[in-house]
Symmetry: C2
Subunit: 794 residues, 2 copies
Amino acid sequence: MAGQATVTDVHPLDDDELHALDAYWRAANYLSVGQLYLLDNPLLREPLRVEHLKPRLLGHWGTTPGLNFVYAHLNRMIRRRDRNVMYVIGPGHGGPGLLANSWLEGTYSEAYPAVGQDEEGMRRLFREFSFPGGMPSHVAAETPGSIHEGGELGYSLAHAYGAVLDNPDLLVACVIGDGEAETGPLATSWHINKFLNPATDGAVLPILHLNGYKIDNPAVLARIPREELDALLRGCGYVPYYVDGDEPATMHREMAATIDRIMGEIDVIQHSAREGELTGRPQWPVLVLRTPKGWTGPIEVDGMPIEDTWRSHQIPLAEVRENAGHREQLESWLRSYRPAELFDERGAPRPELVAQVPAGGRRMGANPHANGGLLLKPLRLPDFREYASEVKKPGSTMSEPTRVLGRWLRDVMRANDDHRNFRLFGPDETASNRLDAVYDGTAKQWLGELRGTDENLARDGRVIEMLSEHVCQGLLEGYLLTGRHGLLSCYEAFIHIVDSMFNQHAKWLKTSKGLDWRRPVASLNYLLTSHVWRQDHNGFSHQDPGFIDHVMNKKAEIIRVYLPPDTNTLLSVADHCLRSRDYVNVVVAGKNRTPEWLDADEAVLHCARGAGIWEWASSDAGREPDVVMACAGDAPTLEVLAATSILRERLPELAVRVVNIVDLMRLQPASEHPHGMTDAEFDALFTTDRPVLLAYHGYPWLIHRLTYRRRNHRNIHVRGYKEEGTTTTPFDMVVRNDMDRFRLVIDVLDRVPQLGVPAAGLRQDMVDTRTRHDAWTRAHGDDLPEVRDWVWQS
Amino acid sequence: MAGQATVTDVHPLDDDELHALDAYWRAANYLSVGQLYLLDNPLLREPLRVEHLKPRLLGHWGTTPGLNFVYAHLNRMIRRRDRNVMYVIGPGHGGPGLLANSWLEGTYSEAYPAVGQDEEGMRRLFREFSFPGGMPSHVAAETPGSIHEGGELGYSLAHAYGAVLDNPDLLVACVIGDGEAETGPLATSWHINKFLNPATDGAVLPILHLNGYKIDNPAVLARIPREELDALLRGCGYVPYYVDGDEPATMHREMAATIDRIMGEIDVIQHSAREGELTGRPQWPVLVLRTPKGWTGPIEVDGMPIEDTWRSHQIPLAEVRENAGHREQLESWLRSYRPAELFDERGAPRPELVAQVPAGGRRMGANPHANGGLLLKPLRLPDFREYASEVKKPGSTMSEPTRVLGRWLRDVMRANDDHRNFRLFGPDETASNRLDAVYDGTAKQWLGELRGTDENLARDGRVIEMLSEHVCQGLLEGYLLTGRHGLLSCYEAFIHIVDSMFNQHAKWLKTSKGLDWRRPVASLNYLLTSHVWRQDHNGFSHQDPGFIDHVMNKKAEIIRVYLPPDTNTLLSVADHCLRSRDYVNVVVAGKNRTPEWLDADEAVLHCARGAGIWEWASSDAGREPDVVMACAGDAPTLEVLAATSILRERLPELAVRVVNIVDLMRLQPASEHPHGMTDAEFDALFTTDRPVLLAYHGYPWLIHRLTYRRRNHRNIHVRGYKEEGTTTTPFDMVVRNDMDRFRLVIDVLDRVPQLGVPAAGLRQDMVDTRTRHDAWTRAHGDDLPEVRDWVWQS
């Protein structure tokens, strides 16, 4: 166990162990090739015929034998040391290898009982791989033991580090492909070691797998001199160990000895850190494994070199149905693994192989961390009402929503301190986003050099900030998928940096929900603040509310979007999100001082409804409104309320209904989203025939996408961000995008006919005020005083 | 000049030069602080009063003095060596510094004649910074000499490398902030040196600026030991040079000497490469500059340390209007630069400063590469009709669209070979995307180690492939903004990796178009292939057609989206895109064998119209159709045509109109997009009252977003990708998403009433065939033969 061993704890492989290890590896390779090619005749009991072969060869070989080699040696290490080990497989298309190992160790059959450890099970294993309705060719949610999808490259190391946070007993073996190593997210993930606490977190063993080639190119890190690679890894803060070759027996001996040495190093680091002897940042080991791509596969096909070139990436023998020569070569390739030695008469792995497999939950395919819902403990959440602002009258007080939220989050951390299962991630913005109350209870975890002027940095802390949205997202995903809770706070515009990571996580959740053996995990919570309307310092480059549009393309059962208009609604929404499971929750909220509209009870009710009429702001009591003014988001809410108060003063006879929307998904039809309103509910809020003016936080057309099937859709007019902005004042931003109170009043006048002479005067006043705003702002660099100092009067 | 100097060409600063250099730096710092604070009294002719100060202090100080220091020393080097130097400033919020330098060298006044080099000009310079309608606080399109927006971090080095490709004479000095250095894209951009050809490309001088802090945190690379940083940079293939300190005179001497040494190294590399003496990959120099954040600013404010801490990031003295102490401190800070020594009576820079500035086009603010449209040469484009397939009858022949496009691209490269101004970028997929004909004419540029089995790799080539979409996009942006042409080909799903980079580029183009001094540049062309409908090998993780939705949020005048349904339309679209300027063109096209529908002339006409009726596929000749079947994208087109042929056979009386859409923007109202159809045009295609079934390549709701204002919108029913998929057959993919021919027929039957008994039988047949498909596919792993072998019969 960790801390007990020493660096001298190296046990050379004896010949029996070598033989057994190699047999296991051959079995995994055999089963991998079988998945690529075979529909039938899984044990090659008869000569290979065309009808045994899949009609469409889908899947990839190149990376697989190396992954199988790693798996076999990790099994040995787990058995010898009784270690708690999870794998993360970075390379794409490792599917067949991991499925083969899962089948060998029995975890495949436990997850999918129809696929037993016998000949029929092997046939099914082969057939279902990359087959319609079957198993994907990447390591995926369907793969027992995985928390990481192998499709899009670059996130393995961040996932691995996220998994070991607060899991001091856990080791994650993270295989990094040399293709993947070229991606940005991976390249910076090496530096996460500056945030890992060896005393309270587990260990990651990165295994950089240099098999030399991507789809069609050599890999960069495989084509730099050894001394450069060594410097690079040491520069990233690691101590590299190398295993390099292609002769199996030698490679087995080297790999076993090297993993023993590495585990000894890890044990020493953890032991000394936990005994308080290690106060600096340790240099963690990294294993560099150099093997031929397509190792043990065909060396040449049709006169072209295959093994150890990019040509082994996919299907080395592509014409096995049409070309008898290919078919013969495939058969001898398969037989080179000597299946009869590996599987018994029933098709089950022979005892020699089974002996290679760790026991029960120590099997990597059965590690409970990889099915995090098994370990998930609900958060203890302090009653958010106690943090709520007292709102005696709407709009009479102001607060900074995220600052108040920060106090509640601080106490969420405190309340769950003993479980160490809640974390906050952010690129560098927790304080900028005004969540800094959390530092009263914790710190930013930081293992880099400390200086006297530093604040809120400590070796142990619940907050991790690294200026890489990719790393923050990757850590959070790894943390959640291993059964914990968390929140990522980010500038709204820059969350697009992780659009594609979000895609993959949403796809993972969708797939997981369809697997009865995967347990629900905590939702992925985004708090997007420093949003489009308040980029006073930053301007145009920081203005993009489109992440909402992006997430909407994923499955409705996964996606939730909230736009709390004030502090208390933000608290209520945050409480809801931290209780939820298997969603992606996107919360967009302001950090700037904003009027408070609802008290705690009203906020709870409003958030539960998701959208509702604000009667205190409406003037349609007891009658059909002349116009519905709807708002979603804090800045739009402010402008709509300001517009209604102008209308109330200047056109008191006009019946205005104010509708506020917190839960954006409510706008969709009930048939499209679980939160969607029925048509009756929608019509009750928005009428069937009155003009609706809807001021929305983001790009206006999203509202049309959500509402186009509603009866009154033709009367809905949306104002929102239309990509106009610069470094300017808050009010100038809404003016530039035609969402300001004066423009909204004009919009009403344009849509409600027959308002007569008072309306004409009002319109001219509105036009004049906008002109005055423009002149004032350009002269004074500030908002019009009447806007800046405006206060809601009910 | 390059190649003439040697490493010994170091000229120590003498005292006069030191004094002048320091004066220039003080002037730049003074002008930077002025921009942050001053509305008036720019030369401090009178004591500072409240009314001289901006009411809202927006902007940032921390990074600026270091940037000014770099600029001053680059100027010295440019003057001494007459070098062609462009800057790229990575750190955010460097705006005031670069604007100060631009004003000092006169390029600001050339771009913005209202801001002269005199007291009134200085007043305007100060006032307009971060002021409504003024200059942004980041280095931006508005900044003379910039090709790089300083807002979102991480892309500087890729932009710099992109700029020097094929510009052997150009040096790009690229300042990388230590915050930015934590991002993934930057972390992997270091490795672009494995692709840079020192003989035919220019040089990048990366200047890693360690000022130690981000917004609220220490920077990782500033808190690792020197030996780790050194190893990291050497491991990335560079030779680091260090300048480290805070005492100005010493720092000036060290910086000048170090830059001399570095330039000598660069000259030696370039000279030996160009003489053929250097055949390996050179180790390029990198400069590591360590200076205090907020250098020369307030050391302490209100008892808190400011200089050399994160507190100097933004506005060091925040209450200068309210707090007289702050105001006094500001005044003495400003006076510490001794403005009277720097500016003459008129407010112009004194001759001593002017002498520091390089001449004319050598001023970095005037470098024509940074306004690439000035240098842009139109591509010579071979007539794409000569590459077109002969299509005698629609659907009678098949081809792989991207494979044919590859042949044309090969000849585009050849035709422009002497200009060296066209490049293809891709993560590792040029061959996978079947564009590999380009390798008949060129190679992948690669400076890494070469092996005997390698193919299509060479030191000089028009294709660059690195497995980082960020790097590919960054290189292309840098290449385009310096006046060249290019194309990025990428798997459709993974282009989301660069969503945020696209955002910034689109914002850059929008801003540039509003600046009369910026000339149009070539469009950024995406070829998205290996698309959602044909991920046979890859499955769910590779299925995401949402990039189209993402780009649609940007300004209509920038965005173009094309969905060519076959080979000849792809050729026509590609030709159009390579001729266009200042757009982002998104082309989604298949690589798989697809029927050819249009011959070259028809394709040209169809693409010019953007959308049109395919009469040869329609059965509504001379009458109003009973149903419009529309399609956008290759897979939808195939399914719609297959559905219409079922309908023609089984319900010959039904009048079906087939509409194909190539240019997606045509669907929008003319008021929303320059390509948008008028309502009359739209109604002529889609009718005002008939059911429209539209099969679309991507997420269906985008079509509703584009068409919700159309008269017939309520009758438009869209089929598209609804996030259902796995590793499966092509036809199973359309079935899973309800876009298959049989489902489309059922959709027609659902929408056209009174078709009677034959319709009932047809419906049942369609339902049965779908069931049969499912059973067949699961049994055989292949598509139903009647689907797989289906051929259009007109």
